[in-house]
Symmetry: D3
Subunit: 318 residues, 6 copies
């Protein structure tokens, strides 16, 4: 079976893939005919595909998030690869394939990621901080093990958010050792809480974001998380005016660093400054790493990366 990342024009192929997006459109011909404009994906990447001559039955059969068997040929269209589908059918039980094999996922299993997050949560020494973080994690417990960290920007795959948190916790652990004046509890709490409202900000399935929620659009995950800390404090009987509550809210509110990047206040605690750079470093390097992984190794340059000021990354020959 041909992995999408390895497809090259003008190959013919047969294989199983997941329909990530599907839209029925009509040709300009007279009479107009229906065709399906599809995005196929597997764990290695995604590719756009066209299926011409679509029957009424086809339109009742194929939808986004359907696993399918595809026979097709690979063409070049406007400098990009594209599949022309010859035959298409739904995957059957006897094909013995699983949905999770066809989506991009974090390289560590969700169970292990959640385990690590919980261990770090348990290691927070300050009981007030721990109880607030715990409340917020519980709120999204059923989503934290599979949600992506963003729609397209970075860690946009199954369990991407938990993976982002775990990698940031590693950096946080290092930086607290290197600079002991930082409060490790605040760093741990800040990392776990900074994007904790994202599962309620976005609507996602199998790591693929289809839209933002109403709260996501009208409030944004930064203000939502601040509100959740208020909610946690009330629930746990913690003084809303205490330095712990204000401090945690500040760290969350300021983690995008500048107003034009979405933060209503600038970092004014050492741990808030640290959190911003831990977050940026992890997000930007993950973008680079993921883009290199999904770029065919024959290409010296990756596609342009929006989160890196639309610059492409080059593979140096040393």
């Amino acid at each position: 079976m041909t992995l999408i990342k390895q497809m090259q024009a003008p190959d013919e192929f047969v294989g199983f893939y997941l329909i990530k997006e599907l839209e029925v459109k009509q040709t300009n011909t007279t009479p107009a005919k229906d065709f399906m404009d599809i995005v196929l994906c597997d764990a290695s990447g995604q590719i756009s595909a066209k299926m011409w001559d679509v029957s009424a039955a086809d339109k009742e059969t194929f939808f986004p998030m359907t696993l399918v068997k595809v026979q097709g040929i690979i063409q070049t269209y406007r400098d990009k690869l594209q599949v022309k589908i010859g035959r298409l059918r739904k995957a059957l039980p006897e094909d013995a394939i699983q949905m999770t094999d066809f989506i991009r996922s974090a390289p560590i299993s969700p169970v292990d990621l959640i385990h690590t997050i919980n261990q770090v949560l348990e290691s927070i020494a300050n009981p007030t901080i721990k109880s607030i973080v715990s409340f917020c994690v519980t709120k999204v417990a059923d989503k934290l093990n599979h949600y992506p960290a963003a729609k397209t920007h970075h860690h946009a795959y199954f369990a991407g958010l938990a993976y982002h948190i775990v990698r940031m916790l590693e950096i946080g652990e290092f930086i607290c050792k290197q600079r002991p004046f930082l409060n490790a509890d605040l760093i741990k709490a800040g990392i776990i809480l900074h994007d904790i409202a994202k599962p309620e900000e976005m609507i996602a399935q199998l790591g693929i974001v289809s839209d933002y929620s109403l709260q996501g659009k009208l409030l944004g995950h930064i203000s939502m998380a601040s509100n959740w800390i208020t909610e946690a404090a009330i629930h746990e009987g913690i003084d809303l005016q205490s330095d712990v509550v204000i401090g945690l809210q500040h760290i969350v509110l300021s983690h995008h660093n500048l107003p034009e990047w979405g933060s209503p206040v600038l970092p004014q605690l050492p741990e808030a400054v640290a959190l911003h750079y831990i977050d940026s470093m992890d997000a930007k390097l993950q973008m680079v790493e993921d883009t290199l992984l999904t770029t065919p190794e024959t290409e010296a340059w990756t596609p342009m990366i929006r989160g890196l000021e639309n610059k492409a990354i080059y593979r140096l020959n040393l």
Copy 2:
């Protein structure tokens, strides 16, 4: 008694004023001598003053927020008027003067302002909205009747915040009549809530802000108000995910319109768009009106106004 606004060099005068700021400093002479660097104010404005040859007793007697009787002469120093104090004593009971006569205040009495705000609050038809607004107003009940709306920017005087709210409510009432598609309850609630956390963001006495609070610096009044709505909803048993709660939080969070002006989200409800312009129009025109009032009528140009891009305002001769 000479009003500060009417002082002209090189007048001599005797009168009662309030010491707004006072610092004991030392001259460059040898031996150095103590002198007092003072800001005097009355309801018409403020002026800087120097008192040379300060005794040990003087330093024990005079402090900020003290009412005093001053004999002095008015001089010009670096293009600005300045008082050289000849004699200075504390005001006595028999002088029969009151603190409130010497501070700048809103032109409507606090009692009337609070009465108007409460009346509008009562007129909110939607009981959920009303209970949230009521909770937040109660939270700052003891400060809303005297706090300023800002440190220096606009409405920076006794009861300035309540006055700003009341004037905005007048504009809000007009615009709801002119454009019935706007929801009057949301407009009323938005106006009352938009700056409701300012009394906890700033530390003020007699309408004069001395500093920002810790919450003010680390969270800012916009995020604080959003948190208060969460608190109100929990207290009143309202669903945190309801459109009312999200809508009110959105209106508060977006009222500065752009990220670089402090809003983490942009207005996405009709009433949020309206609120931003009601707020701007009232604040800007009040800056103009107040600056004209405190500028001697002999001056064609006011001083520069920071909130108006550092532009001065001209009195046209029609």
Copy 3:
């Protein structure tokens, strides 16, 4: 007859509409065939349409601004509705339909709008101001009763400019009552003059702007209006250096507030500050109101609005 706003795929329909735009294009097929790419409109909105298999006679018959009878079906193309035209003919006298029923118009009749503007003009107490405003209004008398206020931004329909002026006059009247230090004559004059050169800046028919004029491109309506005030003053024998002339020119030149928004000077008169906010408030709320009106009520979100930083507006469920 199906209103455009109410069209839904895959309805079939017959009705009268106005051809707002029309271009003959060619298909990619061999041999290529002509088809017509059309924008149909009625008073409720507009929709794109395709007519395949176009004859030579068709190309001689159908042009922009033609009223037509259409038989078609509604399809979805790239997430947007689109009409596939089956039959098309010009409207006939016996169809008894009128052009003005098929264009978007201000909700108040042009006659009433002009009447209101003239009444306010008459009420200007200062005769010099009145004569300048009167001269400028007369200059565009034949266009003011039907021109839109902009190409697409806001009030982009028949008599949109006059409607914008009238609504601003209402706000102006309110604000002059609320803040008597404002000069009502200048507010009235500023509102009437601020966009008075727009009918010469744009080329429009039936409220639809097809292009900008040479003056519009090379000078812009703001500088044009300033020049007109010079012209008016010379014509009326008014001193070009008088405060009235300079004041009116200033109010017009500064009404976009900031250089990057098109104003070469910043507001430095109280009335200039007021005018900017009256203009903004009316333009922005009209964008919101018009977009809500042309968005099907089944949609919770409107399309994105360019003049509101590309944000969509949400219909809250209270």
Copy 4:
């Protein structure tokens, strides 16, 4: 006599200078004493000066724009040179000195500058353009021979504006020869008109700007010049809608190139593009040249130049 540019601490000197600015201030001592805070200038530069122990007669004798004989010593104060005046008297007829010897002037005489401008004006072939330019030049005829081009930015000295125009005309002549597609009449007219309203925008004496005029503040010289072209056209009976009038207004309005630099429209004629660069090149290089001239030759670096992004200029050793 010591030129100001050549003064060095701790020299003593006697010489004639012009009082450019003078303010009577008071010392912090008790009793306070009057002293005079003065700016002295000659053709080579300017320096701040203090005169202590000022008598009542002194205060009646010395004012800005007075020629004086000074005996003083040169001191260093906050890294800058400053004169401590020992003796001071007004210049007498028998001193046989002239005001114009003590002010900075363009290096070409006003008579020659005006002669050159008139010659170029005469050489404009298009009679309509010539009559408009001629009208505007006549309007400021009594100021064009001595006004500076700016308050401090560039060409801020006697006849600086005329000098700026003449030097730009030289560049304009060259560029029209190099690129014949440019219309020489428009280039000539644009250069003469682009800053023609500056003498009415600023209030100046002997090349020293003391303030901006009301028109200068409320309209700015760019819009003023556009209005003047309207006035000229009416006076000369030229169609206000003709390409000549619109073209000249456009060239003037767009010569600052970008809105944030003060131009309400961007250049859209070849000659408007050219004019912007001719103007910039002349203004920037003159700033460099003038700053080098007034910087002592012993200094490798000039002071920072505001018009060059606050950068200093270095004298390279080749």
Copy 5:
């Protein structure tokens, strides 16, 4: 033979042209068919073209940079002209046409341009400056006689870079005469060196840039030229810390004036200030002139010009 600039729909024509770009694509029809999406050019301009019904032989025959004979008709597609190719064949020896007749070139021959550059180089009096400039020119000797100055921005044609340098040298000569305080050697050197690394920054053939080189992307021509001056100095035995080396590197590094325009340092030498404006003036006026030349004379407005803030240029009727 019809020049591309003179083509008008719906003309038919036969003529020779150069294939500038060519891509084989597929139609949406079933079965999909190959067609060729082509850009044809001649010395007067370029036009997009389609050839339907492409054979396997065609795909082996036609490539970019091939001279061809075309029979076609001119159509309008989306407001732009486009050729529908009827017949197509490669140019034959007996057609007696030359590649260089079909590309846009500087209006002066490369031989003359290089001669002029060498003459100016020879006239540099300072031997150290001359040897550095000479080293850098030699480095690109085989490309300087035909490379364009940019991909699309300005002087984007055969020998465009040399032409840009020669025209700038003319301005430089003028400005050194007008302002003798400028060092003519530095002006000459700065002009020749400022874009000297462009032939290594871009990959071009016949004046047409197909891509940027690795160095171009990772270093940019400004830093590359600075490195070359280091290389030249080492090669010529010149002190790397001398004012000449630092001065030349500074002039090259600062010639884009502002960081956001690509210069890591701002101009701090008189000649660096001059160079920036000489470069801007020549580049911007050339954009205007070239765009006017390639715009049919029947058009009053040119297309929008990216390098002029996306503004179009108007042909005034005087």
Copy 6:
């Protein structure tokens, strides 16, 4: 002996300090008297000081970088502490104090820092990279062991630059372990080279920068380092067009990430992206840590920190 960080008004004290800055000025009195305006420092911080009644001998005795014994009293002047010096003498050999005890230094000894840098340099596996890094380090060998990393921004003390490099190498080692796709040689080289030209960009003594060098002003350390890599490659016989040379130059040129922050190109190698965040994280956290250290522990808020958008840092009470 009172550490400067512990001084409080109105203490009297005797102790040894270093004169960091000294200027002789004159009082406004008549006759004017000389006084000395001094900045005293020790390892804990710095404070401004005045010495009145200065003798001629004093002026010959005291200069910047002199160790002195001071008897003084601490006063408050404009909200800041200031020393009024009573008695002052130079430190004597028998005082047995050392210069290095009175300056701020990195918390690790220069010997150890250089040792660490050399060890890492030795561990670079790629011999070409190693030889280039080695060449550049050797170039500044006599300065790298004591130079600060900046004038005031961050690591502005003795051996601050080496300390910055060593701490970044620790982060670099961590991140290469966490993300093995990063090339450790490039990370090591990038960290050592990124600021390697700073010792030639600035002029410093004992960790205190007095000015920027000519190269620093005209080229900047980023372009200087790029030039040095060219120099190194020529010296070591490495191909200037090799990926190693271009890659190292790119990493250095892009490490400020954005043009407005000083980088002429944006990061386009994975290691360039990483380097920017390693540099930022270390610089920002060091600013926070150093400011907290020099802020008296009785203060909840530090002074504002320019490199953190002028925000102060708060000490949270957990």
